[in-house]
Amino acid sequence: MTHMKISMAQALNQALRDAMKADDTVLMFGEDVGALGGVFRITDGLTEEFGEDRCFDTPLAESGIVGMAVGLAMNGMRPVVEMQFDAFGYPAFEQIVSHVAKMRNRTRGKITLPMVIRMPYAGGIGGVEHHCDSSESYYAHTPGLTVVAPATVADAYTLLRRAIELPDPVVFMEPKKLYWAKEEIDLTEGQPGIGTAVVRREGADATLIAYGPTVPVALEAAEVVAAEGRQLSVVDLRSIVPFDDETVCAAVRRTGRAVVVAEASGFASVSSEIVARVTERCFHSLAAPIRRVTGFDIPYPPPKLEKYQLPGVDRILDAVDDLQWEDS
């Protein structure tokens, strides 16, 4: 049976399972990923199926986890590691920035690092401090990394398979609030690979650009706006690096207006980069400045306050309303 209704968490689990089945050198390790199956159960059953050598718990030290993965990748393995939560990836930041990202360039391609760093990320789950960071901009800013964020169940499967197959390192951002959303998917039917954005909804009036956790929010907003008579396109980036300028710019040119929707704080972020590069390329197609709906420039709030931080449908609607319609 290839068609099934499964959650993103199950799709990720299946992707790991299939990757480990397809290639003996694929290893999965991190904190609590063994017997427990990960705090989000993404690695559920892998130790049981593939043994302690293939899926295992490590000492509790993220720099060590990523550093060890670098060495394993240097010596013929394809490690996939889990940072338990985005904000707990920071101890590994030096390894990621100074080695994971730079090793290939440093050695003129003699050493490639086929490794994946999986990170449950972003908010919307009522997590206490350090459990809801959106850290993608740090990684996207670092040349040499590939940064991927799925927003659908099908993409979670396909993009993780592609990430594991890629000869280069991937930071794989998993929007944890979407882990439990179920979708009917066909695992054999490949989605586009890494580096390709997808237009999730076509509409002639304006384009919403989103990735990861904000894609469903953008789609919901487009639905509401449609009821009010305006048709919005929704572009799902899927991969932040490489960035699909072509698909994004084509959508913006078709509509002449755009709003970028992202959970991370807006200042010096992926969202500001998108505004800058789209403006540079599509200035003459734009009928209004590109608006952004992002998190405020504050640390991620405590659970009782997170609703003020998260980009919601209303804020997106306000931004769309603000796109100088009176001038057209």
């Binding site: 550093g67 060495g71 010596n75 360039n105 040499g144």
Partner: protein, 362 residues
């Protein structure tokens, strides 16, 4: 039955088989290496010293950007590779050029980082030498990964992972020791304690009785040796490698040596230490004592001496001829190596630079 302490703690004094006067001492646990190893090692020391001093001279001529010399630490440099087999790995730092060259890597390719024409110049897989690591201690966890991969593949590879005394304060040093211990990875962690981290003396890094004592906290056996005694180093490191290879897990070795020169040519050591601290260490030079010992044994005849000198001259010539004042660089390389499949954005940026350079030519 041996106690945990006996198994894990280093000996009370650093292992020394030949003292600074060239006198041999028996040791209850370590044997003097045989003649062939000591004579061969002598030649490597002479070559290493020449490499260091020639490289420093080339910095003064502007042909290298910077050179962190291991002058005075050559016994550590040479011993670290002499105890390895072909399939083993070496994880060096910026200070370990001599070790890399003594492993058989091309000297000019070794100096790429310090000449500044690329970040690393040799093929790491040709001699199983990782790129030199600059961020302190970060290479040590890579060493664990390489060793663990070898074990998973059923190979009996040993990984020699180098770091300095200062680097032992970094978190990665501790994570690497702990990971290696938990995964029983065949890594020999080899600390060259040269008493300084740039200007900061060892006393500011730790109040541990020795750096080798740090192993016990991770269940890793620690041992220490006189870092200027090639014989002692070969014995201690040789045994550590043997134990790691035979499945006894990671080993920690500290060499007591001294950085007789400044941190690099860009450093001014007079700002933080007195000359009379350095003087006694000149007496403990690794080459001098081995020379004395070999002479007394009658093992250092003219043939050996001339051979060593000829090899050293060859190194000197190689560096002088190979390190041209203006190495050729290729700006396209800036974009070429980041990804297996280049991104559209990098293609555009490469084209931008190409245009800019073309305009300059007109």
């Amino acid at each position: 039955m041996t106690t945990v302490e006996e198994r894990l703690l280093p000996s009370a004094e650093p292992v020394r088989l030949i003292d600074q006067d060239g006198v041999q001492h028996d040791h209850p646990s370590y044997q003097l290496p045989h003649r062939e190893a000591l004579v061969g090692g002598y030649t490597e020391l002479i070559k290493g010293r020449r490499f260091n001093d020639q490289a420093s001279a080339l910095v003064r001529q502007g042909r290298l950007a910077v050179y962190p010399s291991s002058h005075g630490q050559e016994a550590c440099q040479v011993a670290a590779t002499m105890v390895l087999r072909d399939g083993d790995w070496l994880f060096p730092t910026y200070r370990d050029c001599v070790s890399i060259v003594s492993r058989g890597v091309d000297p000019i390719e070794t100096l790429t980082l310090l000449r500044g024409d690329w970040h690393s110049g040799y093929d790491p897989y040709a001699r199983n030498v990782a790129p030199q690591s600059t961020p302190l201690a970060t290479q040590l966890t890579h060493a664990v990964g390489v060793a663990h991969a070898a074990r998973l593949k059923g190979e009996d590879t040993v990984v020699m992972a180098l770091c300095g005394d200062g680097a032992t304060s970094e978190g990665d040093f501790h994570e690497a020791l702990n990971f290696a211990a938990v995964f029983h990875a065949p890594v020999v962690f080899f600390i060259q304690n040269n008493e300084y981290a740039i200007s900061v003396p060892l006393a500011r890094q730790t109040v541990a009785p020795s750096l080798a004592h740090k192993g016990i906290g991770y269940g890793v056996p620690g041992e220490r040796a006189d870092g200027n005694d090639l014989a002692g180093l070969l014995a201690v490191l040789g045994q550590a490698v043997k134990k790691a290879r035979e499945g006894e897990g990671p080993q920690l070795v500290e060499a007591h040596t001294y950085r007789v020169q400044a941190h690099t040519n860009a450093d001014d050591a007079t700002r933080y230490r007195e000359d009379d601290e350095v003087t006694p260490w000149l007496e403990r030079d690794p080459i001098k004592r081995l020379e004395t010992y070999l002479n007394e044994q009658g093992w250092l005849d003219d043939t050996v001496r001339e051979h060593a000198e000829a090899m050293a001259d060859q190194v000197g010539t190689q560096l002088r001829d190979g390190l041209m004042p203006e190495p050729e660089v290729d700006p396209w390389e800036l974009f070429a190596h980041l990804y297996t499949e280049q991104t559209q954005q990098l293609r555009e940026q490469a084209a931008f630079l190409r245009d800019e350079l073309a305009r300059e030519e007109v």
